[in-house]
C-alpha cells in the first residue's frame, strides 16, 4: 500500500509538472499580453512598458523557474487583466464548475444505473432499443445546440426555468440536463455492456442455483462487479467533463472555471491559465487516485496483482 501511495504521488507530481510545462511553453508561444490589456490608442511604447512590468523581458528560463516556484508556493501571481490573485479568481469559479460537473455526473450515472438495471431485470429488448435510439439521438446533437433547444422549450416557450445565470437551484436544471444526458448515454453503454458480461459469469449461475432472487443477484452481485470498470472510466472522464463544461458555461452564462480558463488562454492571462490548469490536473489526479483506492477496496484482486 505504501508503494502504491508513493507511486501515485510520483505520478501526480509529474503529471502536474508536465501540464504546467506544456501550459508555459504554449503560453510563451502565444505572445505577450500587453497589447490586449491597453485601450486601442495605446502606443507601442506603452505596450512595451506594460510587458516588461509584467516580467516578460526576463530570460525564459527565469520566467519558467518563477512559474515553478509559484506552483510550489501556491502563488500564481495576479491576473494580468483582472488584477486580482489568479488563484483567488480560479477558486472563486471552482464551486460553480464542480456543482455543474458533480450533478451532471451523479445524475447521469444514477439514471444510467437505473436504466441499465431495469434493462437487465426486465430483459426487455424494446427498452434497450428505445434507450439505444434515444442515446444515439442525443449524441447527434452538439451540446450547444441541445442547450439552445432546452432553453427555447423550457425558458422561452414554457417560461418554466431560467435561461442563464446561477441564481437559484432552478438555474442548475438546464445546464445540468445538457451535460447529464451526455453522461447518461455514455455510462449506460458502459454499464449495459459490463452487466451483460457479468450476466454470463458462473457466479451468477451459482447464486441463481442457490435460489437467490434475480434482483438480489443483480443488485448485490452483478452491479458491484460491473461498476468497477465503469468507475475507472468515470475517473478518467473527469478531465473531459471539466473541459466539456466550457460550451455549456458559455451558453448558460454559467460563471464556471471552463469559461474563465478559455478566456484566460485567449487573453494570454497566464497566471490564471497556470492556476486553473494546476487545479484541473490536481482534481484529475486526486479523483483518479480516489477511484483507484475505491476500486482496490471493492476489488482486492487488483491490489494483489
Amino acid at each position: 500500500m505504501l508503494l502504491f501511495i508513493a507511486r501515485r504521488l510520483a505520478l501526480a507530481v509529474t503529471t502536474v509538472l508536465a501540464v504546467v510545462t506544456i501550459a508555459f511553453v504554449l503560453g510563451r508561444a502565444t505572445g505577450e499580453p500587453g497589447a490586449l490589456l491597453l485601450p486601442d490608442n495605446a502606443t507601442q511604447a506603452d505596450i512595451q512598458a506594460l510587458n516588461s512590468s509584467l516580467g516578460f523581458d526576463r530570460p525564459l528560463l527565469v520566467q519558467y523557474l518563477d512559474t515553478l516556484v509559484g506552483l510550489v508556493t501556491g502563488d500564481f501571481g495576479d491576473s494580468y487583466r483582472l488584477r486580482e490573485s489568479a488563484l483567488g479568481l480560479v477558486l472563486e469559479r471552482v464551486p460553480a464548475t464542480i456543482e455543474l460537473a458533480f450533478w451532471a455526473f451523479v445524475i447521469g450515472l444514477a439514471l444510467a444505473v437505473v436504466a441499465a438495471l431495469t434493462i437487465q431485470l426486465t430483459g426487455s429488448r424494446v427498452l434497450r432499443a428505445i434507450v439505444g435510439w434515444a442515446g444515439a439521438l442525443r449524441q447527434s446533437v452538439p451540446d450547444f445546440f441541445f442547450a439552445l433547444l432546452l432553453v427555447l422549450v423550457f425558458s422561452v416557450l414554457l417560461g418554466a426555468l431560467p435561461s442563464l445565470g446561477r441564481t437559484s437551484y432552478a438555474s442548475l436544471v438546464l445546464p445540468v440536463a445538457t451535460l447529464a444526458t451526455g453522461q447518461f448515454v455514455m455510462y449506460l453503454r458502459l454499464l449495459d455492456a459490463a452487466l451483460s458480461e457479468q450476466a454470463g459469469q458462473d457466479y451468477v449461475r451459482t447464486a441463481i442455483a442457490q435460489g437467490q432472487r434475480r434482483s438480489t443477484v443483480l443488485f448485490t452481485r452483478m452491479l458491484p462487479n460491473a461498476i468497477v470498470p465503469v468507475l475507472g472510466m468515470a475517473g478518467l472522464n473527469l478531465g473531459g467533463l471539466l473541459g466539456g463544461t466550457v460550451v455549456v458555461e458559455v451558453v448558460f452564462a454559467w460563471p464556471g472555471l471552463g469559461k474563465l480558463l478559455t478566456d484566460a488562454v485567449s487573453q494570454r492571462d497566464f497566471p490564471i491559465v497556470q492556476a486553473g490548469l494546476v487545479f484541473v490536473a490536481l482534481a484529475f489526479v486526486i479523483v483518479n487516485t480516489a477511484v483507484d483506492v475505491l476500486v482496490r477496496r471493492i476489488d482486492t484482486r487488483t491490489a494483489a496483482a
Partner: protein
C-alpha cells in the same frame, strides 16, 4: 415416492428459426440417497440435462419436450403444458436440490468475502435468520467441510483461497439446507488429483450426514466407478446405457460404453521403448533453478529448485506433480521462455543460453513445445495450413509440400488445410499443434499436459500419434502431466516433483509398482480407477 428426480423423454433445443437438438429423449431417475453418475464426453448433453432440472439452462437453449419431476413436483410437462414459475423454482433451488459447479473460482463472486457468500446462501431460504446467526451458521458449515480457521478465513475473498478450499466452500453452500439432491457438475476437473480425492471424500461424508442423493456429472469413468451407485452413459444427447455402476462397467452392453472404457489409459507400461542409442541426448538440463519475481515481495519465489533432467533421443521422461510444484516452470526454463536463474541446458548436444533471446534461431529449433490448451495455442485467425507453415516461414523455408507432409504426419488430410482453429475439435487442434512443433525437426519435444484438455477417446488417439512420431523421428519427450494414468502408458521414466524439487525419479514400472516417496504413493492412491475403492454414502434410512 423414493425418487427425488425423474426426467422423462427430455428434449432440449436451441432457440431460433432452425433449432438444433442438443438433448433428445433423455430419461433418468435419481432415488433418495443414491448416487447417480452421468458420464459422457464433451457435447454429450450430460450437463444440459441436469441443469434443465433446476431451470438453469443457458440462454439460447430451452426444453421442448418431456417431463421433469423434482421431489414429486412437476416442474415441466411439455405435453400437459406445465411450466414451473420462477418463484416455485426459487423455492426448490438450494433447498431441495443444490449444485456444485466445475470451476470454483469463477463460480464464486470475486468481490465478496467467502463467508458472506455462504451466509447469503443460508439466508436465502431462512430469511428470518439474523445476519449474525447466518454468519455463525456459515462458519459452522465451512468448518464442517474441513475449512480450518473458518472464522478467520470467512472474511477473505475467493482469490485468497486455494482451488480445493474454494470447492469446499461451494459444497458448504450446497449443503446449507440439507438438500434432497446434490448435483455436482464436474466438481473436481479443475483440481489436482489428491485434492480431487479429498473433495470426493468430503462429498461422500456430507451425504452421509444429510442423506442427500447425488448426481455426479463427469467425463471420468474412474471417478464414476468409485463414487456412484448407478450409472448413465450419454452420447450425442442421448442416453446410451444405464444401470448399476458395477454391473455396467463389468459388462458394458453398449458399444459406446466399451469404447469409452477402452480409451482409458491402459494400466500398464508401454511395451517397447523407442530409445535410440548413439545419438546425442535430446536434453541435458543440470541443476535448474527458476525464480519468479513477485511484485510487493522482496525475495523472489523459487519455483524450481535445482532440478536435473536427462532425456535420451527417443526417450520419454514424464514430470509429474501437483499444480504449483514447478513442473511447468521447468519446461519453460528448458525452452527459455522463463529463463532459468541458474543451471545449464544442453539440447540435442548443443549448450544453449538460459534466456530465449540469447538463443540463436537454430538453437531454438532444437526444442519445441506442444501446449496444454489447444484453444490458446493456435492463432484463431490463421488457417491450419498457415499455422503449420508459420515455423517454416520464420526459417524462410516455406514450401506447401512440406506443410502437407507435416499435416499428413499428424493424421490430418488436405481438407483440413483451409480450416480455422474454431472449426476444429480439440484433438484436431492438438494435432495441428504437434505438426507445428515438428515442422522444424526438433530433437526435444516439450509436451506440457498435451492431452489433459481432451476427452478420453481423443486422448488415446493423440498419445498413439505421439508414440508413432517418436519412433519415426527419434524425438526426446519431456512430458509434463498431472495424470498418472496417461504417464504410465507413455513414459519411460518418471520424475515426481513437489515444491520445486525432485522427490523421486525412477523407470515407469518401478514408480507404479514400488513407489518410494510417500508423496508418490499419495499421488498414486488418489487416481480414480475403474476398480478403485467405493465411496458409499448409504444413509441409514435407505
Amino acid at each position: 415416492m423414493s425418487t427425488v428426480l425423474r426426467i422423462e423423454n427430455l428434449r432440449i433445443e436451441t432457440d431460433g428459426d432452425t433449432p438444433r437438438t442438443l438433448v433428445d429423449g433423455v430419461s433418468l431417475r435419481v432415488d433418495r440417497g443414491e448416487s447417480l453418475g452421468v458420464v459422457g464426453e464433451s457435447g454429450s448433453g450430460k450437463s444440459l440435462t441436469v441443469l434443465a432440472a433446476l431451470g438453469l439452462l443457458p440462454v439460447g437453449t430451452r426444453v421442448t419436450g418431456g417431463r421433469i419431476v423434482l421431489d414429486d413436483r412437476v416442474l415441466v410437462d411439455v405435453e400437459a403444458d406445465v411450466w414451473a414459475g420462477e418463484r416455485e423454482l426459487r423455492a426448490l433451488r438450494g433447498r431441495t436440490a443444490a449444485m456444485v459447479f466445475q470451476d470454483p473460482m469463477s463460480s464464486l463472486d470475486p468481490l465478496r468475502a467467502v463467508g458472506a457468500q455462504v451466509a447469503s446462501a443460508v439466508r436465502v431460504h431462512a430469511p428470518r435468520l439474523g445476519r449474525r446467526a447466518a454468519r455463525e451458521r456459515a462458519i459452522e458449515l465451512l468448518t464442517s467441510v474441513g475449512v480450518r480457521d473458518a472464522a478467520d478465513r470467512a472474511a477473505t475473498r475467493p482469490h485468497q483461497w486455494s482451488g480445493g478450499m474454494r470447492q469446499r466452500a461451494m459444497i458448504a453452500m450446497a449443503i446449507a439446507h440439507d438438500p434432497l439432491l446434490l448435483i455436482a457438475d464436474e466438481p473436481t476437473t479443475a483440481l489436482d488429483v489428491t485434492v480431487q480425492a479429498q473433495v470426493m471424500d468430503l462429498l461422500a461424508e456430507v451425504r452421509e450426514r444429510t442423506g442427500s442423493a447425488l448426481v455426479l456429472i463427469t467425463h471420468d469413468l474412474g471417478l464414476v466407478a468409485e463414487n456412484s451407485d448407478r450409472l448413465t452413459v450419454m452420447h450425442h444427447g442421448r442416453v446410451v446405457e444405464t444401470g448399476a455402476t458395477r454391473a455396467v462397467l463389468a459388462a458394458p452392453a453398449e458399444d459406446y460404453t466399451r469404447r469409452l472404457m477402452a480409451a482409458m489409459p491402459a494400466e500398464q507400461e508401454r511395451a517397447t521403448p523407442a530409445v535410440r542409442t548413439g545419438e546425442a541426448d535430446a536434453l541435458v538440463a543440470d541443476n535448474i533453478v527458476v525464480d519468479y519475481r513477485v511484485s510487493g515481495r522482496k525475495t523472489p519465489v523459487r519455483a524450481v529448485d535445482g532440478v536435473s533432467v536427462r532425456i535420451m533421443a527417443g526417450e520419454t521422461v514424464a514430470v509429474v506433480g501437483e499444480s504449483g510444484c514447478g513442473k511447468s516452470s521447468l519446461a519453460k526454463a528448458v525452452l527459455g521462455i522463463q529463463p532459468a536463474s541458474a543451471g545449464t541446458v544442453v539440447v540435442g548436444g548443443v549448450p544453449v543460453r538460459a534466456e530465449l533471446t540469447g538463443r540463436s534461431a537454430a538453437q531454438r529449433e532444437l526444442a519445441q513445445i506442444v501446449f496444454q490448451d489447444p484453444y490458446s495455442a493456435l492463432d484463431p485467425r490463421l488457417t491450419v495450413h498457415e499455422l503449420v507453415a508459420e515455423p517454416l516461414r520464420i526459417r524462410r523455408a516455406y514450401n506447401s509440400a512440406a506443410v502437407a507432409t507435416l499435416l499428413a504426419d499428424v493424421g490430418l488430410d488436405e481438407s483440413y488445410a483451409k480450416r480455422l482453429p474454431g472449426q476444429l475439435s480439440g484433438g484436431q487442434r492438438q494435432r495441428v499443434g504437434i505438426a507445428r512443433a515438428l515442422a522444424l525437426r526438433p530433437k526435444l519435444l516439450v509436451l506440457d499436459e498435451p492431452v489433459s484438455a481432451l476427452d478420453v477417446s481423443i486422448q488415446a488417439q493423440v498419445l498413439t500419434l505421439l508414440d508413432t512420431l517418436q519412433r519415426e523421428h527419434g524425438l526426446g519427450y519431456l512430458f509434463i502431466s498431472h495424470d498418472l494414468g496417461v504417464v504410465r502408458s507413455i513414459a519411460d521414466r518418471v520424475i515426481v516433483m513437489q515444491h520445486g524439487r525432485v522427490v523421486e525419479e525412477a523407470p515407469t514400472a518401478q514408480i507404479f509398482s514400488d513407489p518410494q516417496h510417500p508423496f508418490t504413493r499419495q499421488l498414486l492412491a488418489a487416481v480414480p480407477r475403474l476398480d478403485g475403492p467405493r465411496r458409499t454414502a448409504r444413509p441409514a434410512a435407505a
